[in-house]
């Protein structure tokens, strides 16, 4: 199974990414609201401008209509045809609001508003000083020319979108500037770890090789205990070295996936950590069935080492570690201090440690998670404070009948 590299060194932790996203979302909402508000103001100003222009035109129509009404009023005994125009429609109402005559499309007139929109028309009202034909109110109605509306809306959309894009780009740069101190500190830590790692390899290898070569049978019991302690310390540093190497260097190497016999690997790693577990009188209880997984051997070793190492590190003295392996899953359970439920979701965060008295950088489970994600496996954590923690890995893909 070929697995593409998608875990390049990303200095921003997921919490920082979510902060960035939340800030951008908030910024986006605020900017959108401000732009909408500006859009509304612009629309209203354009509408006022249109009303102002139309008021002049409709006022001229009204004056012409008043003249025609006056003429009709004075000559009403001979002539009773209401004056009409092709440019506008009109209606007259008496002082009591009763209609006298109307040619308008929308009879729902408003008496106390000089100019207003009604349906697809504009209406303008003129108050007459002399009530020709009894008319106190003269309404002039024209079909609304929607050109201004189309122009205004397209301006709002075009300028609004452009401004929004520019402001979002600015926002993105602002966030990067705000987060730079945080990024710098993480970079500094990563650089420090990377530099330190290079210097650890040779002395650790030398210590472990020499311990292996020592003939303990001729040693005094007191010296054997001292050597065992040196061995534990060296293996602890070696484990840390392996993690740091993986974190800083392994991303640059291509995965070499192969079928791994999980039962054998677990037995091997348990044997490796036996001396560390023995120091805290911790015992292993293994329930292993045959199972194989198609994965890079170094990566699955990092997963197992970190799960076992944590189970030892956060276990109580004389505690137990249960490792269960089945065809499709593996779980590692300890009888340790456990994790508070509200902190369980943070266990995979880099540099997260739940007990400052224990050593380490808090990178182990972050490495585990990155490998699990790379191979599309599933990992779950269950923990009860002061009872223990169980970590389960499901091999959804890449498994082979053992």
């Amino acid at each position: 199974m070929l697995v593409s590299k998608n875990k390049g060194t990303n200095l921003l932790r997921s919490s920082e990414k979510s902060s960035l996203l939340r800030f951008l979302a908030l910024y986006f909402i605020l900017v959108t609201m401000i732009l909408l508000l500006l859009g509304v103001f612009y629309y209203e100003s354009q509408e006022k401008l249109m009303f102002s222009n139309q008021r002049t035109v409709l006022s001229n129509y009204a004056n012409k209509q008043v003249k025609a009404l006056k003429h009709l009023h004075n000559d009403f005994s001979h002539h009773n045809i209401y004056p009409r125009s092709t440019k506008f429609r009109s209606a007259i109402y008496d002082i009591e609001g009763k209609k006298i005559f109307s040619t308008i499309k929308h009879p729902e007139v408003i008496f106390d508003k000089e100019i207003y929109r009604i349906g697809d028309s504009l209406q303008f009202v003129k108050y007459l000083d002399d009530y020709y034909l009894g008319a106190k109110y003269l309404f002039i109605e024209v079909d609304e020319d929607m050109t201004w509306y189309k122009e205004t809306m397209s301006n709002i959309l075009a300028f609004g979108t452009l401004t929004l894009i520019v402001l979002i780009i600015f926002g993105f740069f602002f966030v990067r500037i705000f987060l730079r101190p945080m990024r710098n500190s993480i970079m500094l830590l990563d650089d420090f770890i990377k530099d330190t790692t290079h210097e650890l390899n040779t002395p650790i290898s030398a210590i472990l090789a020499n311990i292996e070569m020592m003939d303990t049978s001729i040693m005094a019991e007191k010296n054997q205990k001292k050597l065992a302690r040196i061995n534990i310390a060296a293996k602890t540093v070696s484990h840390l070295y392996q993690d740091l190497t993986y974190l800083t260097l392994s991303h640059n190497r291509e995965s070499k996936d192969e079928w791994i016999d999980m039962k054998r690997l677990i037995q091997d790693r348990v044997e490796y950590f036996a001396i560390l577990a023995g120091a805290k009188k911790i015992t292993f209880e293994l329930d292993l069935k045959d199972s194989a997984i198609f994965i890079d051997s170094i990566k699955i070793a990092r997963v197992l080492d970190n799960l076992i190492s944590n189970a030892i590190k956060y276990n109580r003295r004389r505690g137990k570690i249960f490792i269960v392996l089945r065809k499709n899953y593996l779980h590692v359970q300890d009888t340790g201090i456990g994790i508070a439920s509200e902190k369980v979701s943070d266990v995979f965060e880099r540099y997260t440690r739940f007990n400052s008295s224990e050593g380490g950088f808090g990178i182990g489970l972050n490495i585990v998670k990155s490998i699990i994600d790379e191979y599309d496996l599933q990992i779950s954590v269950e923990s009860v404070l002061d009872v223990g923690t169980t970590i389960r890995i499901d091999f959804l893909r890449g498994t082979l009948d053992g």
Binding site: H73, N74, F76, S77, N80, I81, Y82, D94, I95, E96, K98, I100, F101, D130, Y131, Y132, L133, G134, A135, K136
Partner: protein
């Protein structure tokens, strides 16, 4: 002779009957205004131009008929100089209202505009 008496009697009763059919407006308004230069229609249009609505017009006209003054009259000075302000009406409110309703209905522009 008897025939003449009967004919005169019938004619008289017909004329009396016709006279009885005249409404309040015809009985009380037309007879005087018939001989004035300003027709009732012209007066109506003048009142309409000044008071606009039906209620306003009838109210103002009723008030003027009950208490006519030079200040309240819509007629010009020349007309008042020649004909003076009319006498106070002796009609009851009910009679006046009936006459005004008839007057309004007769010249209401709503019914005439086309």
């Amino acid at each position: 002779m008897v025939k003449k008496i009967i004919f005169i009697g019938i004619l008289g009763s017909i004329l009396w009957a016709d006279g009885g059919k005249l409404n309040s407006y015809e009985r009380n308004c037309i007879p005087c205004h018939r001989y004035q230069p300003a027709s009732l229609e012209k007066l109506f249009m003048e009142y309409l131009k000044t008071y606009s609505g039906e209620l306003s017009l009838k109210g103002a006209l009723k008030e003027f008929l009950k208490n006519p003054t030079e200040a309240e009259s819509l007629m010009n000075d020349k007309f008042i100089e020649n004909f003076s302000v009319k006498d106070r009406t002796k009609l009851s409110d009910e009679e006046l209202d009936k006459a005004l309703d008839i007057y309004w209905n007769l010249y209401d522009v709503r019914k005439k505009l086309k």
